[in-house]
């Protein structure tokens, strides 16, 4: 009993002393500060300064910026941050490179606002915070420009300090990312909205297929290079960017932090303009809009395309025959609501009214595109849906079969189609076909020879599909 008492007491004492020492005496930052004071004393010019350097108290330093929610203790070890005497010294004593601290003094912005990482930590492993239960680990140097985009307009930074970020913003538009991803009020809804993509944590991304360190920036980089390799079954088109392009896009993605609350004083003027009028100051002509939103799937739009990646035919929306059979109302409805059953997702909310009209003007390509096309004269025999069904099964279902998944042509039973495609348009399309697509002309000269009565039967059948929708 007494032996147990003695042994336990000794063990307790041992660990109390050990933890007292390891947490208060032998801590890495104290070692760094001692090293710093020796270095500084060695570099000081006059004896007065040398003595001063040697007598610098060893103590914790931190930068607190309440309106940015910053508590950064990085300066506890990085003592030479603003001391030109330390030029060329090894890290963590080196002065901050560049002159950025003149414009962004540490005491007003802290460190983690740009560098990320865990500011509260007082050892490097936990400050770096990769795999340390911290949402935003330290950014590698080559991705640092992303943080400029938190307060600045990325595009305004091309010549003033963040060329990679600006390049990323440009690539994002050039590659048609808006076609699926909404950003700054512009874009489709097939992919995730990206306004706060830079705030996502590693727990919000699928990390299963990411080799090595599970950080969001590595995920982004590799995902740009091989979307399906990182997220199995992703619809994102592989674009095979170069390393530089992938890096620029990653930087741009990390910069997107719309949900972050920032004090007015921190936000640059160009950023205020950006937030109020969008990423390209609201000046977009029809061509630009087409390139950003439509081209990624529809290409030039004059010929129907079989998209190998999506495994689907993509309609030729700038095909004259198509345009001749539709009206603005039909196109507008399809763009806003999308085409259910296809990958055409609605752009409602991702396109302003004036933008939409400009886009329609561009699609029309100078030709007259009436708001509503007059319905063809009612001198048409009423069709028989049953006869139409038999014909449909024979002639149309191969591509348009509403029951088959992976059909190659648009679904005719969808509400968007049924409500917005007029009878005249349907008849005209069947009769005249869609030059440049797999849809051939089924009537008229050079057509497959369907009679007007048969066309009516088909129309009746197609209209009857609406009621069969689940």
């Amino acid at each position: 009993m007494k032996k147990l008492l003695l042994a336990s007491s000794l063990v307790t004492l041992l660990f109390l002393v050990a933890s007292g020492l390891s947490e208060n005496v032998f801590v890495s930052w104290k070692g760094y500060q001692k090293e710093y004071s020796l270095l500084l004393a060695g570099r000081a010019k006059d004896p007065e300064r040398k003595r001063e350097a040697r007598n610098v108290p060893i103590e914790l330093h931190q930068v607190v910026v309440p309106d940015l929610a910053v508590f950064d203790r990085c300066v506890t070890c990085h003592r030479g941050m603003d001391n030109p005497l330390m030029a060329g010294a090894p890290n963590p004593f080196r002065p901050h490179p560049g002159d950025i601290l003149n414009v962004h003094p540490t005491e007003r912005f802290g460190c983690t606002i740009c560098h990320r990482g865990q500011g509260a930590a007082v050892n490097f492993r936990e400050a770096k915070a990769v795999d340390a239960y911290w949402d935003y680990p330290l950014l590698p140097r080559e991705l640092l420009e992303s943080s400029c985009g938190i307060c600045h307009d990325p595009k305004a930074m091309a010549k003033t300090g963040a060329p990679v970020l600006a390049e990323g913003a440009r690539l994002f538009e050039e590659k048609g990312c808006h076609g699926c991803h909404r950003l700054g009020g512009l874009g489709g809804s097939l992919g995730a909205a990206l306004d706060s993509a830079g705030l996502r944590t590693r727990h919000q991304l699928t990390m299963a297929n990411l080799p090595g360190e599970k950080t969001t920036f590595r995920w982004l980089d590799l995902h740009f290079k091989d979307p399906q390799g990182i997220v199995a079954g992703s619809l994102m088109k592989p674009d095979y960017p170069t390393d530089e392009e992938a890096r620029a896009l990653t930087v741009f993605m990390l910069s997107l932090q719309a949900d972050r609350e920032l004090p007015d004083r921190a936000v640059a003027r160009d950023r205020h303009r950006l937030l109020s009028v969008g990423h390209d100051q609201g000046e977009r002509d029809g061509r630009t809009l087409y390139d950003r939103l439509c081209r990624v799937c529809h290409g030039e739009g004059t010929l129907g395309i079989f998209d190998k990646h999506l495994g689907k035919f993509v309609p030729a929306i700038r095909n004259p025959a198509f345009l001749a059979s539709v009206d603005r109302r039909f196109l507008r409805a399809n763009i806003l609501a999308g085409r259910p059953g296809t990958l055409m997702a609605g752009f409602e909310g991702g396109l302003t009214g004036p933008d939409l009209e400009r886009l329609l003007d561009f699609l029309a390509g100078g030709a007259a595109l009436p708001e509503r096309r007059a319905q063809a004269a009612a001198k048409r025999p009423a069709g028989d849906a049953r006869r139409g069904a038999a014909m449909f099964a024979r002639q149309c279902a191969g591509c348009h079969d509403p029951g088959e998944k992976g059909q190659v042509a648009p679904t005719l039973s969808s509400r968007a189609f049924q409500e917005n495609a007029g009878d005249a348009m349907i008849l005209a399309t069947i009769a005249g076909g869609r030059p440049g697509t797999a849809m051939v002309a089924f009537s008229g000269p050079g057509g497959a020879g369907l009679s007007d009565a048969e066309l009516s039967d088909l129309l009746a059948h197609i209209r009857s599909l609406a009621t069969r929708r689940k």
Partner: protein, 511 residues
């Protein structure tokens, strides 16, 4: 002049006179002064002046009750230290824990002790309960103290759970979210009956627990007040009752023939009763003694000072040594700051609730309310349903039958829980076969209720077959212990994202 020399003498005698005014008995070398060392001390006087040798045997108590009390003391001290730095608000809580971790001198160590000490206390409380049960110490006259023990078990779990939220990290947030949803689970019943609109017990319980609809500022303050004021006070009261009852019930339990079996004390043991009392001290020391002690000393007792005191100090220091050793090497977990937008998957409750969470994965009401209530009720009723006086003070009762039944029950309990769990994991449960089945069916027919039924049936069979309520009690207690252990292990190690089965956490898909 006489005053002057007296003054000098007083100054010289100062250390002695101060000491003598503090400790008013002589050195503890006689029976009397040893007794005085105990009962003249406010903090020690809850102890008896003499303690039976049976109670001092390691193999009997294993010091488990003392470990629980020692953990509580350690937790109180470290908890108060943490309170100096902890800020119970959503905006500051997490940051204050980080500060404790990184800049408060030795704060990391203190927090580690508090965290690991809490886990140790839960383990010790469960083991202490098992010890008391298997030595049949709940029997008359100790029935109510057993019930107080159950109350202390509940308080320990409540204290640990309320502390779980305070760091305000992802672990805390989602564990408590689960806890709150379990509190809401009576809705399973009221929904099935279609009366939730009128009597929403579940919703009321959840709101009572959280102070709002979801885990937020109100929940944090609520848990904080429960954790640092309310529950420790109640705990203190019940610990006092528990200790008081031990004294009033005649000390720790021991077999009727303990004196005979222990034989005379060894020669080198501090004197066993040197002075025979001239009057009965039954009033003071042996309230429930069956015979008067006039003219003879209570045999086989030793003076509490030094025997009991040394033992207690040893157990206390042992507890502290284990806690500080673990705390030196292992940091208490602290995940990312709580983020309601990023659910943890799997979100797990504290480990001691994972057995219940395993059942909750089938039915929140069954795992969160029904089974705990049945289990606690069963525990409380044990001393009243098993009133056989034999076997008190011996592990499993001295007769070999008790040990055999315990072994058999352990085998049955393990086999049943493993079989039922393996079946549910391999083949699924009702919902996987009949997706449209009403939840109320699963509420009353799930692995948890099936197991409970099997265990109760088994113990009733033992009561009839062995013709002994004590053996029936052993059967059901052992079965439940086996079930608790296996379900807890399954919930801890074999359940991953979406509560799916994995052979080890290393095989979880990285998300």
């Amino acid at each position: 002049m006489g005053s002057w020399s007296e003054y000098i003498a007083n100054v010289r005698a100062l250390p002695r006179t101060v000491w003598e005014s503090l400790v008013r008995h002589g050195a503890p070398v006689t029976d009397r002064s040893r007794a005085e060392a105990v009962f003249q001390n406010l903090f020690l006087h809850i102890h008896p002046t003499r303690v039976h040798r049976w109670s001092l045997r390691w193999s009997y108590t294993m010091g488990l009750g003392l470990i629980c009390a020692a953990s509580f003391v350690v937790l109180t001290v470290t908890g108060v230290l943490l309170m100096f730095y902890y800020k119970p608000s959503m905006a500051l809580a997490y940051q204050s824990i980080k500060d404790i971790h990184y800049v408060v001198p030795t704060g990391r160590f203190i927090r580690n002790i508090h965290r690991w000490g809490a886990h140790l206390m839960v383990i010790a409380v469960i083991l202490h309960m098992a010890r008391v049960f298997f030595t049949a110490s709940y029997k008359k006259p100790r029935e109510m103290n057993w019930v107080f023990g159950i109350v202390l078990l509940i308080l320990t779990l409540a204290l640990s759970f309320s502390g779980y939220l305070l760091p305000w990290d992802q672990l805390a947030y989602w564990a408590v979210t689960i806890g709150a949803n379990i509190a809401q689970s009576p809705r399973e019943i009221t929904d099935a009956a279609g009366i939730t609109r009128y009597i929403d017990i579940g919703g009321f319980q959840k709101t009572l627990l959280l102070g709002s609809r979801s885990v937020g500022e109100d929940a944090l303050i609520r848990f904080y007040v429960l954790h640092v004021v309310f529950l420790p006070l109640v705990m203190g009261v019940f610990m006092g009752l528990h200790f008081w009852r031990i004294r009033k019930d005649g000390g720790l339990s021991r077999p009727a023939d303990a004196d005979r079996r222990l034989g005379p004390a060894a020669e080198d043991v501090t004197p066993v009763f040197t002075q025979a009392p001239r009057k009965s001290y039954g009033l003071m020391a042996v309230v429930r003694g069956t015979s008067s002690n006039v003219g003879r000393g209570p045999e086989n007792t030793l003076p509490s000072w030094p025997h009991l005191m040394t033992a207690e100090a040893a157990v206390f220091m042992f507890t502290l040594a284990v806690t500080v050793a673990i705390s030196f090497f292992l940091d208490a977990p602290l995940k990312e700051m709580a983020n309601p937008l990023v659910p943890e998957n799997p979100a797990k409750a504290p480990w001691y609730f994972l057995g219940l969470q395993e059942i909750v994965s089938f039915s929140a009401f069954a795992g969160g309310v029904l089974l705990p209530v049945v289990t606690l009720l069963g525990l409380v009723l044990i001393p009243y349903l098993d009133r056989e006086p034999e076997g008190v003070g011996d592990w499993f009762g001295a007769a070999s039958r008790g040990r055999k039944v315990a072994l058999r029950s352990a085998v049955f309990g393990l086999a049943a829980v493993i079989a039922v769990e393996a079946f549910a994991i391999r083949f699924g449960w009702l919902r996987s076969w009949y997706p449209g089945i009403p939840q109320i069916v699963i509420t009353f027919f799930n692995p948890g209720t099936v197991l409970t039924f099997l265990y109760i049936a088994y113990s009733l069979w033992v009561i009839r077959g062995e013709n002994s309520t004590r053996l029936g009690a052993i059967a059901i207690f052992t079965c439940f212990l086996a079930g608790f252990i296996v379900l807890t292990l399954v919930g801890t190690w074999f359940r991953g994202p979406n509560w799916e089965f994995f052979w080890s956490p290393s095989r979880w898909p990285v998300h």
